[in-house]
C-alpha cells in the first residue's frame, strides 16, 4: 500500500501481507488472508467491516495478543521499520507495547482487573516503561485521570473498577493507554459497549487527545458515522482482507468496491424516512474453505467470469485502492448515501 497521503514521513506501523490462522474444530480458519496496511504519524485510520472480517484480529496481532488456537502464519509487522517477529523482534515488541503503541479495548467492563486499584493499574505501565517509582507513578496517574476528564482523581486512584461506570472505565482505559505518551493508539470498537450518549463523549475525548498529543490512531469500528467524523483514511475489510482503502471522504462519496457500496447503502439514516432497512443479501464466506477468486462474488450483483480470479488491491486513484475487477461501477440501483457526519 502507498505511504499515507497525509503524512510524508516514514510510516510508524506497517503490517505486511499478514496471515493469521485459527485451528478450530471446524478446521483451519483463515482469519487474516494477507492484510497490508500502514499508518503514519498523526494520522487516523478507520478500519471498518462486519463482525469476523478481521478488524480485531489485525489489532490483536499488532499487540501480540493472538493466542492459541490462533497463530500468525506468515507476513510481518514492523514498528518504525523494525520487525516485531523473531526473537529480537519479540523483545523489542514487549518494550514498545504499552509505551509507543497502546490499545483501548471494546468492553471496558471486563478490560480492567476487578481486584486491583485503578491507581495500580495505571501506575504499573509507568513503572514498567518509564522506570518511575511507585510514588511518581501515582502522581502521574492522578494527572492522567484528570486529563481524561475524571473528577476527584486523587480519591479515584484508590478505587476499584466496580466503583466506576462504563464510560468512566473507558476513560480509565484511555488514561492507561496514553500513560507513556504513545505515538499510536489502537482503539478496538471503543464505544460499542457504551450508551449512545457516552459514545460521543469518548470519541470527543479521543479526538481531543489525538490533537494535543499528536497521536496516530487506528480506530476499529463498524460505525461508519464514527469513521466519517474522525478518520483521515479508511480501510474496509471483508473476509480477512482489506478490499478498499482511501481517504475517508472519498471512500464515502465514491466507494469503489461493491461491498463498500453495499455497506454504505445499508447504514440506516435518521434524517430520511424509509420503509425498511436495507442489507446486503447473503452471508460472508466460510473462512475454513475461502472461495476461489473474489471473496465477495457470491453476494455481489456485478459478479461475473472475471471474479473467479482473486483481485488484488490496486490503485483506482492516486490515493485510493480497491480489490475489485469492476471498481467504481455502481453495484446497486438505489442511489448511494454517505453517512451523516456527527456534529
Amino acid at each position: 500500500m502507498s505511504v499515507s497521503a497525509i503524512s510524508s514521513s516514514a510510516p510508524l506501523l506497517e503490517v505486511d501481507n499478514l496471515k493469521v490462522e485459527f485451528d478450530t474444530r471446524r478446521g483451519l480458519v483463515q482469519g487474516l488472508r494477507g492484510v497490508t496496511l500502514s499508518i503514519g504519524r498523526g494520522e487516523t485510520l478507520g478500519v471498518v467491516g462486519e463482525s469476523g472480517s478481521g478488524k480485531s484480529v489485525t489489532a490483536q496481532a499488532v499487540m501480540g495478543l493472538i493466542d492459541m488456537p490462533g497463530r500468525i502464519a506468515s507476513g510481518d509487522i514492523r514498528w518504525k521499520g523494525r520487525s516485531l517477529f523473531g526473537r529480537d523482534g519479540e523483545r523489542y515488541a514487549q518494550d514498545i507495547r504499552g509505551k509507543e503503541v497502546a490499545m483501548v479495548f471494546q468492553d471496558p467492563m471486563t478490560s480492567l482487573n476487578p481486584v486491583l486499584k485503578i491507581g495500580t493499574q495505571i501506575g504499573e505501565v509507568l513503572e514498567r516503561h518509564l522506570g518511575m517509582t511507585r510514588a511518581q507513578a501515582r502522581n502521574r496517574a492522578e494527572e492522567l485521570l484528570a486529563a481524561v476528564g475524571i473528577s476527584a482523581p486523587r480519591r479515584r486512584l484508590d478505587q476499584h473498577p466496580h466503583e466506576f461506570s462504563g464510560g468512566m472505565r473507558q476513560r480509565v482505559m484511555i488514561a492507561m493507554a496514553i500513560a507513556c505518551e504513545p505515538q499510536l493508539l489502537i482503539a478496538d470498537e471503543p464505544t460499542t459497549a457504551l450508551d449512545v450518549t457516552i459514545q460521543a463523549q469518548i470519541l470527543e475525548l479521543l479526538a481531543q487527545l489525538q490533537e494535543t498529543l499528536g497521536l496516530s490512531v487506528i480506530l476499529i469500528t463498524h460505525d461508519l458515522g464514527v469513521v466519517a467524523g474522525l478518520c483521515h483514511r479508511v480501510a474496509v475489510m471483508y473476509a480477512g482482507q482489506i478490499i478498499e482503502t482511501g481517504l475517508a471522504e472519498d471512500v464515502f462519496e465514491r466507494p469503489a468496491h461493491p461491498y463498500t457500496q453495499g455497506l454504505l447503502r445499508s447504514t440506516p439514516r435518521l434524517d430520511e424516512v424509509s420503509d425498511r432497512l436495507v442489507s446486503i443479501e447473503g452471508t460472508p464466506p466460510n473462512l475454513v474453505v475461502p472461495p476461489e477468486g473474489c471473496s465477495f462474488q457470491q453476494r455481489c450483483p456485478l459478479s461475473g467470469e472475471a471474479c473467479r480470479k482473486a483481485p488484488r488491491l490496486e490503485h483506482i486513484r492516486p490515493d485510493a485502492e480497491a480489490a475489485c475487477w469492476k471498481p467504481s461501477v455502481p453495484a446497486w440501483a438505489t442511489p448511494l448515501m454517505s453517512p451523516s457526519m456527527p456534529s
Binding site: Q60, R97, M103, S111, N113, V115, L116, E124, H160
Partner: protein, 306 residues
C-alpha cells in the same frame, strides 16, 4: 467493617449457643452418661455415688443451668482418664495439633499456588496432564492408608524418618505430608482451573497489551483473582483438618494432639474431656470463619461486608 465484625461475632455467638445445646442434649439426654463413663463392672451404688459427685442425678433444668454456668467460667469438668481439668488437657494438646496443621496445610498452600499456576499456563500440556493425574490420584487415596504406606517405606524400610510421635523437625515430615496430600490435591485442581479461566479473561489481554512482563501478568493480575476461590477452599481445608483429618492423621502417627486425644477420650468414655474438645473446636471454627470473611474483603473489594 467494624459493624460487620460485630455482626459476624454475634452470629458466631449464636452458633456457640447452638453447639452448647447440642452437646448438652447429646451427653445428658441421649442415653445415660453415668453408664457410659463407668466401667460395666461398676455396682449400682458406685454409679449412684458417681452421679451425685458430678451432679448428674439432679433435674435436667438445674443441670443445664450449671452446665452453662460452668462453660461461662471455662470449666469443662474433670477428665476421668487424666484426673485433671479437661480444659488443661485440651490446652496442652491443642498447640500440637495447630503445629501439625500449620506444617501440613502450609505445605499444601505453598505448593498448590505454583503447581496449579504452572499447570494452567499450558492447559493440556504434559505438565498440566501430569498435575491432573497426580491430583486425582491424591484425591482418591484414603488418608490413613497413605500414612501407613509412608511409615512402612520411609520409617521402617529406609529408616530415614521416625515412625511416630512428636519431636524435632523430622517427626513433622510424614504426618504433615499425610495431612497435606488430599488438601494439596484439591487446592491444586482449584488453582489450575481458576487460573485457566483467569488467564483467558479480557483484563489479562489488557495487561499484556500494556507490555507488562509475563510474571507480573500471571502472578499479580491472574493470581489475585484466583485467590478469591482459593481462600474459600483453603479455609474449608483448615476447618476440615481441625474437625476431622487431624483425628485420622494423629491416630496413625501417634501425634499427641487434639485429634488423638479425642480418639482416646472416646475409647476411655471420657465424656467431659470430649465435651471440652468439641467446644474448643467449635469456637475455633467460628473464629476462623470470621477471619476468612475479613480476608475475602481484603482480596476482593467487590465483596460487600454489610
Amino acid at each position: 467493617m467494624g459493624g460487620f465484625l460485630l455482626r459476624r461475632i454475634g452470629q458466631g455467638l449464636l452458633v456457640v449457643i447452638g453447639v452448647t445445646l447440642i452437646v448438652f442434649i447429646a451427653t445428658r439426654m441421649v442415653g445415660d452418661p453415668v453408664r457410659v463413663m463407668l466401667p460395666l463392672s461398676a455396682t449400682d451404688e458406685q454409679r449412684a455415688a458417681f452421679a451425685q459427685q458430678v451432679g448428674l442425678d439432679r433435674p435436667m433444668g438445674e443441670q443445664f443451668v450449671d452446665f452453662v454456668g460452668d462453660l461461662a467460667r471455662l470449666d469443662f469438668g474433670e477428665s476421668m482418664w487424666q484426673r485433671r481439668p479437661a480444659l488443661d488437657v485440651v490446652l496442652e494438646r491443642l498447640p500440637n495439633t495447630l503445629k501439625l496443621i500449620g506444617a501440613g496445610l502450609g505445605l499444601a498452600i505453598l505448593l498448590a499456588l505454583p503447581l496449579g499456576a504452572i499447570a494452567a499456563l499450558r492447559p493440556g500440556g504434559w505438565i498440566d496432564r501430569t498435575t491432573v493425574f497426580v491430583g486425582l490420584f491424591g484425591l482418591s487415596l484414603p488418608q490413613f492408608w497413605f500414612g501407613l504406606i509412608l511409615i512402612v517405606f520411609f520409617a521402617v524400610t529406609l529408616r530415614w524418618l521416625p515412625t511416630s510421635g512428636m519431636g524435632g523437625m523430622a517427626y513433622y515430615i510424614l504426618p504433615a505430608v499425610t495431612l497435606a496430600m488430599p488438601s494439596l490435591a484439591r487446592l491444586v485442581m482449584l488453582v489450575r482451573s481458576s487460573m485457566i479461566d483467569e488467564l483467558n479473561q479480557q483484563y489479562v489481554k489488557t495487561a499484556r497489551a500494556k507490555g507488562l512482563r509475563f510474571p507480573r501478568v500471571v502472578m499479580v493480575h491472574a493470581m489475585r483473582n484466583t485467590l478469591v476461590p482459593f481462600v474459600t477452599l483453603a479455609g474449608w481445608e483448615l476447618i476440615s483438618a481441625l474437625a476431622g483429618y487431624t483425628v485420622v492423621v494423629e491416630t496413625v502417627f501417634a501425634w499427641p494432639g487434639l485429634g488423638l486425644t479425642a480418639m482416646q477420650a472416646i475409647q476411655k468414655s471420657d465424656l467431659f474431656l470430649l465435651q471440652a474438645i468439641v467446644f474448643t473446636v467449635a469456637i475455633l471454627i467460628v473464629v476462623i470463619n470470621v477471619a476468612l470473611d475479613v480476608v475475602y474483603k481484603l482480596i476482593d473489594p467487590r465483596i460487600r461486608l454489610a
